[in-house]
Symmetry: C2
Subunit: 324 residues, 2 copies
């Protein structure tokens, strides 16, 4: 056993899964444990597993909590970074003002920093991924929701109350699919949640017109159609699915254009669905971005998938632990 | 005569007027000379007057060019700040790639910095006006066009090729008045140029309906109706003019909401028309901003007219001379 401070600990909390990570600084070989978050069981459930997992991981390496340089948490917002509270994110409905920073600092006797996942992802891609060497990037996280993390002149820009980058709330149309409780918002049009709404509509329309689609079987189950299912159907050549991706991609392009006009970034890095769905989504997005944005600014802005791929959540939590 | 470097020199170049300024550092008592820019006469005309005026102003105070710490130029974009070129701004149609930095550095043998007027205005209001003490502000300049200067974490954010803040280019609607060569853009809807288009349309409609409006007389002259004329008519209670301001103000509110959602600023400072037209424009703008933007972010963002008032152009040029 050693008490030299030598490792970073990270916790990536999502609505479905939570990962607990330890790594040397900077993050290279990452040891991880993952378990279902199960928000329906309340925050105590996941927090208990976080504590247990981290203690066990440390012990397995012959370490104790005294070896931790810092603990970093990446979690969906809204959250209060300064007070260290998780304030009922949409994907964690039972987590109301959970004082996670205080809980973890008491348990592990080490500083704990908390950051929303869009900001943490932006820093991770800037330091270790597709944004390396860039001064100005926007990291767009497209999951159930749509948010952005902004690196401006090499530093994370959080805004006045940590709410910069809420591009998902910006209106694209007078009415339309709902996101952020706002019909016609960017999140309504260009997110996993928006795609589910669009897919339900498209399948209903296809059925009215006696048009075949692989997505019809999902509707029978009564569950919302996921972006993954739309992607899989599109790859099999399903015309309805391809059209949903084209439409979502075009709206994503409008979102990119706003970011390009306002922020003139060198790169926009896409995480989440945009990363997984690939060119079926990105081709229309890039086309519309080039049409809509200021030509000179669009010309200098590359739109690329996150280079950290599926490990972005891990690296994001560890980037928070490194200090942002 | 003294050769101690002790004064700042500023040049504020607009489509109508150019002002040449000298001042102690920081800008307090400002000595100024103003003359018409007359872009139709080519850049040589104004540049000749800039040189002559500055030499005369220095001489009148018993100074020479050797007393100048730095020369600052504030001018409408596009411009290349690094190369020091003015690249045909819409309000200076004959100024194509004018190497103003090199010309002035050769004439006065002192470093000359060039910045676009939105950025220079943002820095001026941040240091000396309504943005004092704030970390995050947006300065919105609303003249013939619409642009923004962004202060993020206390520093000017210029973007990758100095094109951050081009909010005027962002689309608000599929079609509509033209700004930035784009129908339905923010500049088309919420700028002096946009108001002129809206006013022409509104007057034509009023005349079709036999509705009286003070603006009708301006149409007879064949010249576009200016924002000033709309404001004057509105203050006299002209219903058509009031409606134009309400409509423009509401669109301005949509623009403010995008800035609030993306940048989460503490203050949005309005220059130009928005400053001059006052609450007839700002009341509807603030109302729509509160409706459209994320509630928490809107709550912490004050929307205020530029505190430097009509001297903002002077202070902006001197702020450039101070170094941004």
């Amino acid at each position: 056993m050693t008490s030299t401070k030598e490792i970073l600990a990270g916790i990536d909390i999502g609505g479905t899964k939570t990962a607990v990570l330890i790594s040397a600084q900077p993050p290279e070989a990452i040891t991880r444990v993952e378990f279902p978050t199960r928000p329906a069981k309340g925050p105590q459930h996941a927090i208990g597993l976080i504590k247990k997992s981290l203690h066990e991981m440390l012990a397995a390496q012959g370490l104790t909590a005294a070896s931790i340089i810092r603990l970093g948490v990446s979690c969906g917002g809204p959250l209060d970074r300064v007070k260290g509270l998780i304030q009922s994110p949409p994907n964690l409905p039972t987590w109301d003002d959970v004082p996670l920073k205080a809980i973890l600092e008491e348990e592990f006797q080490v500083e704990c920093l908390i950051e929303n996942d869009a900001n943490a992802g932006a820093v991770a891609e800037h330091r270790f991924g597709a944004g390396q060497g860039c001064q100005n990037i926007v990291f767009l996280t497209m999951g159930t929701g749509l948010g952005a993390g902004i690196i401006a002149d090499g530093r994370l820009y959080r805004g006045t109350i940590d709410l910069a980058g809420e591009i998902g709330h910006v209106r694209l149309t007078r009415s339309g699919p709902i996101g952020h409780n706002k019909a016609g918002s960017a999140e309504g049009w260009a997110s996993g949640g928006g795609m589910a709404q669009l897919a339900a509509q498209s399948v209903a329309e296809a059925q009215r017109k006696d048009k075949k689609t692989l997505l019809a079987e999902h509707v029978r189950t009564g569950k919302p159609i996921s972006a993954r299912e739309v992607g899989a159907a599109a790859r099999k050549g399903d015309a309805v699915a391809i059209e949903i991706l084209r439409s979502t991609g075009e709206r994503l392009g409008e979102v990119l254009a706003i970011l390009v006009d306002v922020l003139n970034p060198e790169r926009i890095v896409l995480g989440g669905l945009a990363m997984r769905l690939g060119d079926l989504l990105l081709d229309p997005a890039r086309r519309v971005m080039r049409r809509e944005a200021l030509a000179q600014s669009a010309r200098v802005c590359a739109v690329v998938p996150a280079a950290l791929g599926e490990s972005i959540g891990d690296v994001a939590a560890l980037a928070v632990a490194m200090g942002i």
